[in-house]
């Protein structure tokens, strides 16, 4: 009886925690956004005082107008699709190669030890610096951006996977072994879940990185995409459009990262502290 009661307590406490997270802060969060936009509006003519011209600092209204125009022209959808596709493909490719390389080299210890410094050096190279080279090699199309995004995330994911496999708790491995478990049991029940939490940590940063790399690639040379459109707008001092694109990038980036965080929180719900 006592046991059942205390279970109810545990579950109740968990629910209470989640409730606070979801509902309690919403009002304050909305307020923060409203205040931010209000300050922006106040500084750009909202109070009848405008120190900077629209070409330097557009108001929220001008930005919104430009965004609506952009959307009506049909180009917004094209550009968002292009940029997201490139970032996504680069990310998927980077996940695949990065985790495979990480697991492979962690098990092939000798090779891993040999390649570690080289990969660490490549990892410390500012990745966007290869963007011009990739444009020369692969042209203005999708390929160069996908590769840039891939190149940007692959080492982060590799490093985390590698560190994850190498840090697997030997006591958990032994626990499964003494239960009679073989290599495949250890791989599925211990190594995989252990490494998954490391890969997820890398994935969250990689999403922003892939998006940034794609936009940078579009700055350097392309025919479509949010980055390309931003370069065009800058060229004619269409600052409201630049702001509109920045807003789109922010919203898209936030939505994707938040989505990934929720998936992670669910898959890793066994962890004592739900990572924020």
């Amino acid at each position: 009886m006592a046991a059942v009661e205390s279970k109810g307590l545990v579950v109740g406490r968990l629910r209470a925690l989640r409730g606070v997270r979801v509902q309690g802060n919403v009002g304050l969060r909305v307020l923060a956004v409203v205040v931010a936009v209000g300050v922006w509006e106040a500084g750009t003519g909202g109070l009848g005082w405008r120190p900077l011209p629209p070409a330097l600092l557009p108001s929220p209204g001008e930005t919104w107008e430009s965004l609506v125009q952009y959307a009506r022209s049909g180009l917004l959808a094209v550009d968002v699709t292009r940029t997201l596709t490139q970032a996504f493909l680069g990310l998927v490719l980077g996940m695949g190669v990065g985790t495979a390389l990480g697991v492979g080299l962690a098990y092939a210890r000798r090779l891993g030890d040999a390649l570690e410094p080289l990969l660490a050096a490549l990892n410390s190279l500012p990745r966007v610096a290869v963007a011009p080279l990739l444009i020369i090699w692969f042209g203005l199309g999708i390929t160069s951006k996908v590769l840039l995004a891939f190149f940007t995330v692959v080492f982060v994911i590799f490093m985390n996977t590698y560190a994850g496999v190498r840090s697997v708790d030997p006591d958990l491995v032994r626990a499964v072994q003494v239960l009679g478990g073989e290599g495949r049991h250890v791989a599925r029940w211990v190594v995989l879940p252990w490494v998954a939490s490391w890969v997820f940590a890398a994935l969250r940063t990689s999403i922003s990185l892939a998006l940034a790399a794609t936009v940078t690639g579009e700055f350097v040379g392309s025919t479509h995409g949010l980055g390309y459109r931003m370069v065009l707008a800058t060229g004619v001092l269409d600052t409201p459009r630049v702001f509109a694109i920045l807003l789109v990038l922010m919203t898209v980036g936030y939505a994707v990262v938040e989505g990934a965080r929720r998936v992670e929180a669910y898959l890793l719900r066994w962890r004592p502290e739900v990572a924020m």
Binding site: A3, V10, R174, V178, G180, H185, W189, R269, R271
Partner: protein, 271 residues
């Protein structure tokens, strides 16, 4: 027959000698506990018996371990007949209590409904019903240790090794678990090798107590415990025979502590 450790010696590549010529016999269905000063190699002894140190390159070992005449070198040599309860919590944190307890059964290919039935039965035995679908971090230390015990009992291993299984628990939980384990063993009669640093625990649970020397561990003495089963670990402590045996083993243990201190002092002077 039974579990035999024959002339086992073990030394690390660094030169540290952990076990020296340890010979030990545990008959089938016998409950033997091992005590000794900390660092005397008790845990190492269990790891060797479990077959967990063979593949390590930094140890040098001689002697052998056999179970019913079959030599044990790696964990796989036990062919699923071994259970090991660690002091440290080694429940898999991403699995619920139910999933953890049934791991051994899954490895043995037991069907899902049979597994669930078995877990229900075990969980009831130690008062964990209602917690089957809870993750380990939501359980208390005592509950986690019970879950580890169940994980081992679930597949009914013939030999169970326990390495200070109650070492990290508070006194109250500890007493409760000592009683529970003793009761379970009274029914199941598996072969148990139980390592502890708590002399009282060693006596109230086991049939024999093995005293190991300070490092490198040697068998100093084996004591018979003059009580039958079923027994109540708490009640036993009030008996005269318990007091006598406790004093006797304690004298042996104290000699080892003194020898250890003397050696450390000598080393200190030397350095």
């Amino acid at each position: 027959m039974g579990l035999r450790v024959e002339r086992l010696s073990l030394r690390y590549a660094s030169g540290v000698e952990v076990l020296q010529d340890v010979s030990l016999e545990v008959a089938r269905g016998e409950f033997v506990s091992v005590v000794g000063p900390s660092g005397c190699g008790k845990s190492t002894l269990l790891n060797v018996v479990a077959g967990l140190v063979d593949r390590r390159l930094d140890v040098e070992r001689s002697g052998r371990v056999t179970w019913n005449g079959r030599e044990i070198r790696t964990a796989a040599d036990w062919a699923g007949e071994l259970g090991y309860v660690f002091q440290r919590d080694t429940l898999l944190p991403w699995f619920t209590l139910q999933q953890n307890v049934e791991l051994g059964l899954r490895i043995r290919g037991v069907a899902r409904d049979r597994r669930e039935e078995r877990v229900r039965e075990l969980v009831r035995m130690v008062g964990l019903e209602g917690f089957e679908h809870v993750f380990p971090h939501q359980l208390s230390g005592g509950m986690r240790q019970r879950a580890q015990l169940l994980r081992t009992l679930a597949y009914e291993p013939q030999v169970i090794l326990m390495d200070e299984p109650f070492g990290a628990l508070d006194a109250h939980t500890r007493l409760g678990l000592q009683r529970e384990v003793t009761e379970m063993w009274t029914q199941l009669r598996n072969t148990v090798l139980f390592v502890t640093h708590d002399l009282t625990e060693a006596i109230v649970m086991a049939q024999r107590v093995v005293l190991l020397s300070h490092r490198p561990g040697r068998v100093v003495e084996v004591y018979e415990v003059p009580f039958g089963y079923p027994r109540d670990p708490i009640e036993l402590q009030g008996k005269r025979e318990f007091g006598l045996l406790y004093a006797e083993i304690w004298q042996g243990l104290a000699r080892e502590f003194r020898a250890q201190d003397a050696e450390r002092e000598a080393e200190g002077v030397g350095a």
